[in-house]
Symmetry: C2
Subunit: 250 residues, 2 copies
């Protein structure tokens, strides 16, 4: 699925490099620093917890394969997904600064994650200012996405919210080199999707059906086919600015 067109060696940081390179030029030196970061690899089953709320991680986590989610849990056992992450997303840079996790990170599909120690990351931060800004940038883009989610949660009816979400995830997957033309795999259940969008599973299902009826996307199983991105974006009032997908000096 990944359009590894340049035949680069696939390492844990390949998708990260792909994503960063969409936002700024990466110098050879910075690239080397990244490539030499020691990473540990782990795989996770669907719904397995990757990082636990309340823990104090000594490592940061990078998604290499699959969908992961940031999850804020409530006392009553319900939970809300507050972020969805795809390969190339450095999900857990936060802990480097926050120290104690205020939320969990969970695998929504079967996943592969790479870990690198805070000690090594801190060395990078102290020695490579530009790379630091790029790491910082990823967390700031993450925050921009969250803002857009807030706006969608409160102001948009579920159908437009879903359409907006589909636009976002399509462009993000595209930036990570993970789309197949105008199609992609959204390998998560409607139940999980309902947790992403803050709807009941029943209403989520009805909303997906309504979106299918618009003919703007065809969506069978986990396969999503964007029939007409322009039209979908117009329908959802989607403006990609918040994803910062332009390559410029940061």
């Amino acid at each position: 699925m990944s359009d590894n067109s340049k035949n680069e060696p696939v390492t844990p940081i390949s998708p990260l490099l792909h994503t960063l390179a969409r936002r700024d030029r990466i110098s050879a030196k910075d690239r080397t620093i990244l490539e030499e970061l020691p990473f540990g690899i782990r795989t996770y089953r669907r719904e397995e917890e990757i990082i636990t709320a309340g823990s104090r991680p000594e490592q940061s986590c990078l998604v290499v394969q699959g969908f992961t989610a940031r999850v804020n849990s409530f006392e009553d056992g319900t939970r809300q997904v507050t972020g969805l992450y795809i390969p190339g997303d450095f999900v857990d840079l936060h802990a480097l600064l926050l120290r104690t996790m205020d939320h969990s990170v969970v695998a929504l599909s079967p996943c592969v994650a790479a870990f690198t120690s805070h000690r090594d990351l801190r060395r990078v931060v102290d020695q490579a200012p530009h790379l630091t800004r790029l790491f910082w940038l990823t967390t700031v883009i993450d925050a921009a996405i969250q803002r857009t989610w807030i706006a969608n949660y409160s102001r948009r009816p579920s159908l437009l919210h879903l359409a907006h979400f589909v636009c976002e995830i399509y462009l993000r997957l595209e930036a990570a080199g993970m789309v197949d033309g105008d199609q992609f795999d959204l390998d998560i259940t409607q139940q999980q999707l309902s947790e992403v969008m803050g709807l009941s599973p029943v209403h989520m299902n009805r909303t997906v059906q309504k979106l299918r009826q618009t003919q703007l996307v065809s969506w069978t199983g986990s396969r999503v086919h964007i029939a007409d991105f322009r039209a979908l974006a117009r329908f959802a009032s989607f403006d990609p600015l918040y994803l910062s997908l332009s390559r410029e000096p940061r």
Copy 2:
């Protein structure tokens, strides 16, 4: 209102130092770097725009006085507040990395803001790694707050949402040295508050009345008095962890 108990000279960065010092030790050197940052000061009327969506700022903005908000606007003219900022908040570090603003910053009450150029900030980032991490930290805490907002928007009925918000704003004002015992001024209209919480103005009003009825807070005009913070926090299931209010090495 500010408990300037140590009799430090009041400069634009006083509230910022106050807020940072709650999260980590600030070295004398870093403190000096901050104090020597050249700042320009501007005042704003209620509802005046401080930074415009779509612009490419050359400066970053720090709140010195009053309430400001991050605002995501829709085509239909409605808007959603995606963040509320108080004195000491470095509202607009984002633009340093995002370059183009995907949202606006607006004064919710009469405000004073301080501006410093990206050129100077970039110099700090390149030369003071620890200060950089602290700046980064403020944006990450901001993101943690946004996550909590997402969770509250989707899962909580309006009364609990409001109670949670009051807890948050109380602790944040307290961390900035802006509370007066168990009271504070929330100098924004219910209309504005409804934009913060994503409710209609009418429902916002009814929710405020319901909160008053709980006797957990008394709230007359802009004056909010927390009768029993413990009880209010329990009522709202409020856990302050996400505000990262512990002083530790970051």
